[in-house]
Point group: C2
Chain length 364, copies 2
DNA sequence: AACCAAGTTGCACACGTTTGCAACGCGTGG
DNA sequence: CCACGCGTTGCAAACGTGTGCAACTTGGTT
């Protein structure tokens, strides 16, 4: 028989591998499976493709051969040709706050459930984030989720051009071609104000994280507006750029020691709120909530611990992530700068006085 | 000019894409860059390969063209041919415990620093883990890190055969062809016992998480042995399968209410320890550390909060991760079932009495 | 001028998969 | 007996890259 079939895909006749250490990395390909099953590579491929045209008989043969060889389709090769990696990039900006790690977990689980994989990157500064986005694009991710960070405008535009969707969590920036999932921060600010006013508190301090964040600003404005509208209370101070337990604790000690006399502290995260709480109770001997109230944000697990029983606002974690993913995978034609806003919910615990059963106070 | 060059790689004459929504996903390839720069595709490739043979002149031309087009090499295609994805799979078994999320963060940062990417999967049960491992192998990961879980033996063997290294964190199992990074648990158990004995505590309870875990067992045995050797103290009870704050709090309340009178509680995690602490102080009105001591494990941020000031054992997080990664990327010929054991360190805070300055008590 | 070494470049094959297209087998209705 | 349609199957061309090999250029030495 003359050498008729070119049979180009010879294996094994390769040069020694380059990488130095090589534990006999013998890859089993659809070719081997096809040979063993006595069919073509196409048949193997079709067997592993959900609704392709294969007879039950060949499917059986292929499955048997695949099982025997321990064959796993090479997703890398597949995605090279389908131009779809089923990979979603996830860039984490905030790690300290337990709320975001809970988010991370949910994301990875929910993406897994949708048969997507997550590629995780840590990025703090905007430069980091841009590098991360570039990296992810090199890996041909199908979409990118940014929790608590934003990329530069040009890079976002580039992603949009390439058809890679961006979803921002808890961040948004004017005109960025991305979907952002945010809270109705102004409403939350008003609700907190209303709760505190009804409980009889009048002298407020606010404690915020990164100053430039729109979420914090909006919340504070909602809060301020409600206070102002009531005509009953005033705001004594505003601590900014305070993140984490220690920052909250130190701030409140300095604040009180400098002679100010607030009767309620509103914080932008549970961590700082717990710091404030400990500062008040332990360092300063203040009675919370009788003398001073503390309100947090996020409802992390520690907020409900017996030692804290922190009044705080719960975020709709599940809803946020579902919204983010639904939008990411939707094939509706909604144009992209898109904003999904979800409500928060106040959890009144023991760091604020209970509201008198008489009901709402009269305004003004 | 007759059609001489086959010019097979025509682009653009493709059928409409399949995926439904397609935001004009126009991929820029080395081909385009080569054309613009007036060189061959090889030249482009070599420009982006660290020490390949390219003249400065062509490199310049290529770089310029690449920048102009916004070209990013396609890592997927690259790893198809290099058979190296620079992707490390990371399977998280424990999410509740902040210690592990801190670990996750470090991993992603340190892998990024080594120019590797991490693919994150959440796996709880062993079946989940096996599925995850299979998934990761489909994505051709170069290695897999398992934090706080183990795969089945056959799958681990398959990975070993394929040259995919496995590293287990805080877990190990006899004969699994993987590296495991663990603590010297027996020593930690002895150290805790010694601390408590010197501080004068005599009636102990231990509180553990998942019963079957070797780490917990070893720690407890080290502890027990030291107690027994001293001849001074006794162990009143052993709570098992208790994980998290609520479990610890509930357990200790029931235990004390059933009439037992321990004077020290040793926990297998900070979270349960804080639960125990709150149960004792808040629910039962016990004075810690005067009447009862509490010891945790892990030194999570909340352990150092003013309200807790928990005595605990700190884990060498950095050391563990460096060891894990060094081993993963080492090309020494060390044979694989390998065990790296690192020391823990007791952080004595305010939930145990200070040891009297007189120094060590006489043993026995 | 001839020669050689060193450096650079392009060709073409390979990586493992999907998929359009054409060919095939087969049963059925005319 | 042919035509037709339908369900399966294999061929071969992609996907975007790395890289051995041979060809070419260049510059220096004999």
């Amino acid at each position: 028989m003359p050498a008729k079939k070119p049979q180009s895909r010879r294996r094994g006749a390769r040069k020694a591998r380059v990488g130095g250490r090589e534990g006999g990395r013998e890859l089993i390909t659809s070719h081997e499976v096809a040979a063993l099953a006595g069919v073509s590579r196409s048949a193997v491929s079709r067997t592993f493709t959900p609704d392709a045209s294969v007879s039950d008989e060949t499917r059986q043969k292929v499955m048997r051969a695949a099982a025997q060889l321990g064959y796993q389709p090479n997703v890398i090769a597949r995605s090279l040709i389908t131009r779809r990696s089923r990979l979603i990039g996830l860039i984490m900006g905030e790690w300290e706050n337990p709320f975001y790690t809970a988010m991370l977990r949910q994301f990875s689980e929910k993406l897994q459930a949708r048969d997507y994989r997550v590629m995780l990157l840590a990025g703090n500064s905007e430069k980091d984030v841009d590098d991360s986005v570039r990296m992810l694009r090199q890996y041909q991710v199908d979409g990118i989720v940014l929790v608590s960070t934003t990329p530069s405008e040009e890079l976002a535009a580039e992603c949009a051009r390439a058809g890679v969707r961006l979803v921002l969590l808890n961040r948004d920036r004017q005109g960025l071609p991305a979907t952002s999932v945010v809270l109705d921060n102004a409403a939350i600010g008003r609700d907190v104000a209303s709760l505190l006013l009804q409980a009889g508190y009048r002298q407020f301090v606010t404690v915020r994280g990164r100053t430039h964040l729109r979420a914090g600003v909006e919340r504070q404005e909602g809060f301020r507006d409600a206070i102002r509208a009531s005509g009953l209370a005033e705001i004594l101070g505003d601590g900014t750029d305070l993140v984490g337990y220690a920052a909250g604790r130190e701030f409140i000690c300095n604040f009180i020691n400098s002679g100010k006399r607030p009767d309620a502290v509103v914080c932008s995260s549970d961590l700082t709120a717990i710091g404030v709480l400990d500062g008040l109770r332990i360092d300063l001997g203040v009675n919370v909530p009788a003398d001073i109230a503390v309100v947090g944000f996020g409802d992390i697990p520690a907020a409900s611990w017996a030692a804290n029983e922190l009044t705080t606002v719960a975020l709709p974690l599940d809803g946020m992530i579902d919204a983010a993913l639904d939008d990411m995978f939707a094939d509706d034609g909604v144009e992209r700068p898109r904003r999904i806003v979800l409500p928060g919910r106040i959890i009144a615990r023991a760091t604020t006085r209970r509201i008198s059963p008489a009901g709402k106070m009269a305004r003004g």
